[in-house]
Symmetry: C2
Subunit: 207 residues, 2 copies
DNA sequence: CAGCATCCGCTTTGATACTG
DNA sequence: CAGTATCAAAGCGGATGCTG
């Protein structure tokens, strides 16, 4: 990308990650950790393979991603975020929160992957009762399920929770609407979304 | 911009403001308030006039900017952010903070406008002694000077402060380095940067 | 002059085909 | 699996021209 040549942090950031697709590649690596090329491609549906190769190269030169050389011979080459790349999380959160308001009336034809939910969950949920200790909510809105760990802030992990304090399952729209307090459990259940566990957990984390 | 067609807040945000120049236009309006076309163009140096017109149109359709129809006939048409557009401030802050680390070794040929400093100032400074009441620091690193209001967080305004509690003047690099705690006052003064006022004010706001 | 629109060469993107 | 090659279409950048 051609530089804006402006002495301004916003412009400098966009010099590096302002290219089309770049931040979505960062999103994918930030959520899922190191990935092989083909998995990364599946995580950014719609990207052409030549563009993915281009972007990885550019991000690598800028020090945002690196190719993890595995010691194990024959192991697949993984692409991972550098520390500087991980530093983009606040940018992803801010964009995700702002863009999230468009999700409600987005076309049903949009691609969807369950792990993308971790960004609005981490960016929007709050722990309003930090004194109550740790609790885990499992969010099932596709594969994989997501663990939301409450206590000392909000953290998410991919994969099922060993012994969750609550489980919410349903389609992503309704699940997010419930978690963000835009829909009551009653209405959600009519839409096929179920919650098992203590409803206090929901009230604790709603923004 | 062609949509990414992904049910993800980050992708939706980039569908709207992911075009080249778009976020810099938002930056300009967010910092300076409503602007006429030509002033906006000067605030985004390097943009071609047809692209500025294109972007304004697109942002207008997306509900990010609006043209303020003045009641006064003959008054110039102003372009302003809508409320939704103002909501992009956290995005600008996150990008500015992340990209700010590239400013130290940016080429001297970069365009610079003093009001751009408000973003790193607001995004990075902290009020570490909220109990000490209100204080105002004036930052002079070009025109216009910037008021940094400390107390109940950090707020900035453009223009000189009526009776500041401190004034720091110098070139933008050194001034930022001092304010962000990367350089002591001693070294800064060798580089021609001066501070008048109580040094405690500096320590109060450094990140 | 402010506020664009038009034209044109160049670069980037998107889709697909192909390769070690 | 992990890319490269190719090519048409879209977008960008720069210059210039038009209109109130």
């Amino acid at each position: 990308m051609r530089s804006y040549d402006q002495w301004c942090g916003v412009a400098k950031a966009l010099d590096i990650v302002g290219d089309r697709w770049s931040l979505l590649i960062v999103r994918e690596l930030s959520i899922r950790g190191p990935l092989r090329y083909t998995d990364l491609q599946r995580g950014v549906p719609g990207i052409a393979t030549n563009l993915l190769a281009d972007r990885i190269r550019e991000l690598e030169q800028a020090g945002i991603v690196a190719r993890a050389i595995s010691e194990v011979p024959g192991a697949p080459q993984l692409i991972r975020l550098t520390e500087r790349g991980e530093g983009l999380r606040p940018v992803l959160h801010a964009l995700g929160r702002w863009g999230g308001s468009d999700l409600a009336d987005a076309p049903r034809t949009d691609a969807f992957q369950a792990h993308w939910l971790t960004i609005p969950l981490e960016a929007t949920l709050r722990d309003r009762k930090p004194d109550r200790g740790r609790a885990v909510l499992e969010v099932r809105a596709g594969e994989p399920p997501i663990q939301v760990e409450v206590g000392d802030g909000i953290r998410t992990r991919l994969g099922p929770a060993p012994s969750p304090d609550g489980v919410i399952s349903g389609d992503p729209r309704t699940v997010l609407a419930v978690l963000f307090g835009r829909m009551g459990l009653e209405d959600a259940e009519k839409a096929g979304t179920t919650f098992r566990g203590d409803p206090k957990l929901l009230r604790r984390i709603r923004p």
